[in-house]
Amino acid sequence: MSAIIEVREALRSAHYPFSRATAEPPWMKWIIISITVAFMGVMFLLPLVLVFIEAFRKGWEGYMATFNDRATMNAVWLTLKVAAISVPLNTFFGIAAAWCVARFKFKGRRLLTVLIELPLWVSPIISGLIFVLLFGSKGLVGPWFKEHDIKIIFALPGIVLSTIFVTFPFVARVLTPQMEAQGQAEEEAAMTLGANGWQMFWRVTLPKIKWGLLYGIILCNARSMGEFGAVSVVSGHIRNKTNTMPLHIEVLYNEYQFVPAFAVASVLAMLALLTLVLKSFISDKR
């Protein structure tokens, strides 16, 4: 009896580290997981936690006092306004672009896909710079607008334009692969059964893409509310007028008003967390 146990023990100790041929030895697995947890903990979780701790350094009242400030509330309103204009425009474009790229074969289709993604690879500063070169007082069409008393740079239109540029591809690049993967059999069936274009879109296409569309809109919204570089080039940093929330954070931070700076930052951080949670929820749904 004891001999059998002995043999079994010997076998187990010999085989234990390689119990599966396609797995690393346990100590290796343990090291890999520790490196991952340590790296991501320090690089991502720590800064995130810090934002909230710094924001509440002076307690709940100190936190709420930030949002009684006129300049802060103006920044919040401006940010909401910019997002309310740029997100619907890019959503509409995203649906149109995904429809023609995913549903039809035509010459230049690949080029169009690449061009749609271009803004992702342009530095935010350059995304602001090009609109200054276009609409600034020494710009290409700037003098014409100045003559007609229309302000673009250092005003809302410039901020909206650069935000639209930066968030341009977000909806399209979520929808296109999804629509390609889903195929078009249902749409074709709707058409042969006599639906018109709008009926097909509202009753067949939209229900098919709703989760992807929602995710694209959320991403686009998060980025448009959080854009810093591009907006900082075109806004001119006029307090109460052209400071969005990210720009206001910079102003507060540079004035050593750390609690208000982190309080405003915590609102944007919560928006980011909401985006991430919705993302993982939606990718389960799809």
Partner: protein
């Protein structure tokens, strides 16, 4: 020539709108950059590109981005492997948090990082007695760029690891390879090109990054000034030609980077298509 007939409606409308909107919002503004730098003349371009301060900023941007993408390649590969192959408490949380740099506004990341690593910060205070300084040094710039580029590597490598079939690994084990040999000779070849592609994407993003870097860099001339900041500085001095030239150099660089990573990803898809 007969027009192609489509069953589905809206081709002309959607294509027309897409091209129009793309031209107005993206193509015309980007073309302005080329037009402006051409009209500024060759002299202006040479003048800017021989400016020592500009050169130092370009060197820092490209150098720190390169180092950051190497670091991201290492940790990104390990993280993608752990998230895809192992189950451990907190795996789902980490998998969600990987995308944080995509979702978190850069200014928020910027002030959080500088507060964390300055001498009074949680990590900075631990390093006070050592010789390592992170905030307001090139090291801090690199660290912020690691933060920004990390998800590009993980999200490029992760699906490739998920797609690996186990049979080649089993075959390798049956033929007597140990786990390390299996890893280097069977697993690494198909995931290495996508790791490099992810690193290239991270590099491309890092070169242009502004918000998360300007706070921790401290913006000392010749030392921690990044190229995007030089553009802002030139604009504030009304030196449009200078700003345009730096912008053009960075734009061309990032398009080349994009082309390289596209090539790598496509080649990988062809070679290891199952």
């Amino acid at each position: 020539m007969s027009r192609p007939r489509h069953i589905l409606p809206g081709f002309g409308l959607s294509l027309g709108y897409t091209v129009l909107y793309l031209t107005l919002i993206v193509l015309i503004p980007l073309a302005t950059l080329f037009w402006k730098s051409a009209s500024g003349g060759f002299g202006a371009i040479i003048h800017t590109l021989t400016d020592k301060q500009v050169l130092a900023s370009l060197e820092l941007s490209f150098g720190a981005s390169f180092v950051a993408s190497l670091i991201n390649g290492f940790f990104g590969l390990i993280t993608a492997w752990a998230l895809e192959r192992y189950d451990f408490p907190g795996r789902r949380l980490l998998d969600t948090i990987v995308d944080l740099p995509f979702a978190l506004p850069t200014a928020v990341a910027g002030i959080a990082l500088v507060t964390l690593y300055s001498v009074n910060g949680w990590i900075g205070s631990l390093l006070v007695n050592s010789d390592i300084k992170i905030a307001f040094t090139p090291l801090g710039v690199t660290l912020a760029l690691v933060f920004v580029g990390f998800p590009f590597v993980v999200r490029t490598v992760q699906p490739v690891i998920a797609d690996l079939s186990l049979e080649p690994e089993e075959a390798a084990a049956c033929l007597g390879a140990n786990r390390w040999q299996t890893f280097t000779k069977v697993i690494l070849p198909p995931i290495l090109p996508s790791t490099v592609a992810g690193m290239t994407l991270a590099f491309g993003r890092a070169v242009g990054e502004y918000g998360s870097v300007v706070f921790i860099s401290g913006n000392l001339p010749f030392k921690t000034e990044i190229a995007p900041l030089m553009i802002v500085t030139k604009l504030e001095q009304y030196d449009y030609a200078g700003a345009t030239t730096i912008g053009l150099v960075m734009l061309i660089a990032s398009f080349m980077i994009l082309a390289i990573s596209n090539y790598l990803i496509n080649r990988n898809l062809r070679r290891f298509a199952r």
